[in-house]
Amino acid sequence: MFLARIDGTLTASRKDHRLAGVRFLIGQRLQPDGSTIGEPLVFLDRMGAGRGSTVLVSSDGTIARDWLGKGVPARLVVVGIVDRVGPRPAAEDRAS
């Protein structure tokens, strides 16, 4: 899984029939410092993530298969909308 920022949407009238009715978002993979890396990516979304949100994306294709059927050519699905990302709790914090 990785974090990404949603930067847009796309529409496609010609597509694999199993993708009918799916919402597509365009996003960019995020680095810890907030910069983006790699080429823009298209995610399948059913969580209603909006532009500017940080999302958790899974590249496990079984999510798309369970959702849209066995033959669906899709892998990247938004599985969460991120509230915040913080530093790992220090050992002393966890002990208290």
Partner: protein, 106 residues
């Protein structure tokens, strides 16, 4: 999925039986600056993409990569990239662009 510009197609003279009849596109993945510029250019490293939608050269597609690329084929097929859709239109407005516009306004 990544986005890609269709720049051509590939025809094989010989292939594995499992690949026979598979249509193949030559595709250049689209980088963020090119996507934002809407300049019709890809800019990424060219790849070959299996296809059943027949996009024309110059059209933008979204391509699935990895083992999921073979999902639409009923029999095991040795493809790792597949054209899932042809893009009609898109919105792509990363905040960097908004930031630089705001900076120019100041």
């Amino acid at each position: 999925m990544r986005l890609g510009m269709v720049i051509g197609r590939v025809v094989l003279s010989r292939s594995l039986p499992s690949l026979r009849g598979t249509s193949l596109l030559l595709v250049e993945p689209v980088t963020a600056p090119n996507l934002a510029a809407r300049n019709g250019l890809g800019g990424g490293r060219t790849i070959v993409v299996a296809d059943q939608l027949s996009p024309a050269a110059g059209q933008m597609i979204a391509l699935v990569e990895g083992s999921e690329a073979a999902n639409p084929y009923p029999a095991p097929t040795p493809v790792d990239a597949y054209c899932a859709l042809i893009v009609n239109d898109y919105v792509f407005q990363p905040p960097e662009a908004a930031g630089s516009a705001a900076a120019e306004g100041r």
